[in-house]
């Protein structure tokens, strides 16, 4: 991979160049939390943030979107907003990893989702490295580093950002700056490796994921699930903030007094009681304990069976968001029978 470096003091100039590639969005501080948002000015960007409230998935699978409009003549695919060019600046490795997981489901395979793919093509991703806090367990999920899924990725090496160029578009961004980016020296590489090692050693929470699917099968009737079911409020916050929760609901809306309307999809969650209910009323996951178990089970067992890795990136958002303190690291470690390290 082409690797260059960018002097940190030139970052604002680089950001101004990026505007020709689309609206620049980055984490900003809002009401005490970080959110990805369109920048009014570069100075609003907060690149040293812990985590945004919502992951970047909202750019690719919006909370609510219109798939079709319909009238007497049938269904017409909705194209609104799909063509918008955005440069998403400051995405952490775990969140890029989350996009790579969504790619497996929505961009690849037998039935690619054209809405998702259009957005993935029109939203550029510039990653930035980070320092783990007490909720981060991305390393356990192998999501602390990504080798794809971004156009550029910036790694802090002191006065510079070491820059991995991931795509041709990323390369175009570099070239559009003229000679802003510089070649990497041996000393830069040494500094990168030193920081990489420091980062590796700074993770707190840890989960071993090897053989976790098998442990899930063997512990399917563990009484912990009842305990969690009694605790869970079914609010769905864990799914909403999750970079990889992609379950959705589809509903037709009807314009008043007209044979016209829209087919819309919106985020859904398997912890909601309606998720596995079929027409006629039967519910295949009647109890809340079944539903909360299923959420963990799908990420750590089901997704592994299909795609060879868990659909969890260890970002810690669900731990932060849960109003009753359900902590995925604690849950997984209890299943494993090892003490929770926090």
């Amino acid at each position: 991979m082409k690797t260059l470096k960018l002097q940190k003091s030139k970052l604002d100039f680089f950001a101004s160049v990026l505007q020709q590639f689309g609206e620049v969005h980055a984490p900003v501080l809002k009401d005490g939390g970080y959110v990805f948002e369109r920048l009014e000015r570069w100075g609003d960007a907060r690149l040293e943030y812990n985590r945004t409230i919502l992951p970047p998935k909202k750019y690719f699978l919006p909370p609510k979107e219109t798939l079709f409009t319909y009238d007497e003549s049938g269904y017409t695919p909705a194209l609104d907003g799909l063509e918008k060019k955005i440069v998403l600046f400051g995405v952490h490795a775990c969140d890029v990893y989350g996009l790579n997981i969504l790619d497996e489901v929505f961009a690849d395979g037998r039935y690619p989702d054209p809405y998702y793919k259009a957005r993935r093509r029109n939203v550029a991703v510039i990653g930035v490295d980070c320092v783990p806090d007490e909720y981060c367990f991305c390393r356990s999920m192998r999501a602390d580093f990504v080798e794809k899924g971004f156009d550029l990725f910036l790694e802090d090496i002191g006065d510079y950002f070491l820059t991995f160029v991931g795509t041709a578009l990323g390369d175009d961004m570099v070239l559009a700056t003229g000679s802003l980016f510089e070649d990497v020296t041996a000393a830069d590489i040494e500094e990168y490796k030193r920081r990489s090692e420091t980062k590796r050693q700074s993770f707190g929470p840890d989960v071993e994921i090897r053989d976790l699917p098998e442990i899930f099968e063997m512990e399917y009737t563990n009484e912990m699930w009842q305990e969690l079911g009694a605790k869970c409020l079914a609010c769905g916050a864990c799914s909403i903030v999750c970079p990889t929760c992609y379950c959705y609901d589809v509903e037709d809306t009807v314009e008043l007094g007209a044979c016209a309307g829209a087919r819309e999809r919106c985020w859904d969650s398997c912890v909601y009681s309606s998720h596995a209910r079929v027409a006629g009323g039967e519910n295949f996951r009647e109890a809340q304990s079944d539903r909360i178990k299923f959420r963990f089970y799908h990420k750590q067992r089901g997704f592994v069976a299909e795609y060879g890795r868990p659909s969890c990136v260890g970002c810690g958002r669900c731990i932060v968001a849960c109003p009753v303190g359900i902590d995925i690291v604690e849950v997984l470690n209890r299943l494993r029978g090892v003490a929770h390290v926090a």
């Binding site: 798939l67 079709f68 319909y70 009238d71 049938g74 269904y75 695919p77 194209l79 799909l82 063509e83 489901v105 929505f106 395979g109 037998r110 039935y111 690619p112 989702d113 054209p114 809405y115 793919k117 259009a118 093509r121 029109n122 399917y220 992609y246 379950c247 959705y248 609901d249 589809v250 509903e251 037709d252 009807v254 044979c259 309307g261 087919r263 999809r265 859904d268 398997c270 998720h275 596995a276 209910r277 079929v278 027409a279 006629g280 295949f284 996951r285 079944d290 299923f294 089970y297 799908h298 067992r301 089901g302 997704f303 069976a305 299909e306």
Partner: protein
């Protein structure tokens, strides 16, 4: 704006949304409605676009997503056999928003259909084997496609046995069609009802699973396709296993809530599989390895 800098009317990235959109329903006209049993009608559809009719190829056991503007979409198994193309027959139970809207429609009205989806029965693998079809009640809806597929490709299969059971004659789907099979020499059709208050039933009055007493099934040369309510699975599976069927040779059709049909929306998951892409046909071996199966 000069033509040089003018953006193309539609970005290439958006072309797929317009032209290659897996969620886009194809308009299809209702060409027939036939009452089967209470709240269970057979609807016959024909795509408006002859090109869609030509290219539409399903396997027995697959399903489609039925779209009714304003009501939404629902998965419905295909009851007609691919050996009888041109129209699609869906045996629809009136049981939710979409199907209630369908029941308000009439012949000539237009709905949306997309698919076919799911794995379907492994008919290539089943070729050369004896086939046992066992359905209880509404379970005939997904199994009828395979029934006619095997009859229409009769030479590809060994002995054919059909066991179909219901609570009463009025509860049987395709009652006359099934009765017409009893005298056919190329299939051993066994029909049963639990009870017959009318006294007009000419066939067996017994439990579905009791029909095994009237059949000669060789477990080593047979594949079994089973569909029905949970109670049917329980008793039929018991008999099949007792006979010595391999768990891989017992095929079951399952139903779940679905919003997409293409492995994305997450609603049809059973354990670690999605009914829409890994199913709806599962082997019994799959079933015992998946929690929450039946």
């Amino acid at each position: 704006m000069s033509p040089k800098t003018m953006a193309p009317a539609v970005q290439p990235a958006l072309e797929a949304v317009r032209l290659d959109n897996p969620f886009a329903p194809h308009p299809a006209r209702i060409v027939g409605i036939q009452r089967m049993v209470a709240d269970n009608y057979l609807f016959t559809f024909r795509f408006l676009d002859p090109e869609v009719t030509r290219s539409f190829a399903h396997r027995p056991g697959q399903f489609i997503m039925l779209s009714i503007p304003g009501a939404g979409e629902a998965p419905i198994s295909i009851s007609s056999s691919p050996t009888r193309p041109q129209v699609l027959e869906l045996c629809v139970r009136k049981v939710g928003r979409v199907t209630e809207a369908l029941y308000r429609m009439q012949v000539n009205d237009v709905v949306g259909l997309r698919g076919p989806y799911g794995n379907g029965f492994p008919v290539e693998e089943m070729a050369g084997s004896d086939v046992l079809l066992a359905a209880g009640g509404l379970g005939m809806a997904p199994l009828r496609s395979l029934l006619w597929y095997t009859l229409d490709n009769r030479s590809q299969f060994g002995e054919l046995t059909l066991m179909y059971g219901g609570r009463s004659p009025e509860g049987m789907l395709f009652r006359h069609e099934m009765a017409s099979l009893v005298d056919r020499p190329d299939i051993h059709a066994l029909l049963a009802v639990d009870s017959d208050p009318t006294g007009s039933w000419k066939y067996h009055v017994c439990r579905l699973a009791d029909l095994f007493d009237f059949a000669d099934i060789d477990p080593h040369t047979s594949r079994a396709a089973v569909c029905g309510p949970p109670i049917v699975y329980r008793f039929i599976l018991e008999r099949l296993l007792k006979l010595g069927f391999s768990k891989d040779h017992i095929l079951m059709s399952l139903e779940r809530h679905m919003k997409c049909g293409v492995g994305k929306c997450g609603h049809c998951s059973i354990g670690y599989k999605y009914t829409c892409i890994h199913g709806p046909i599962f082997t019994y071996w799959d079933a015992i390895n998946l929690p929450e199966m039946i």
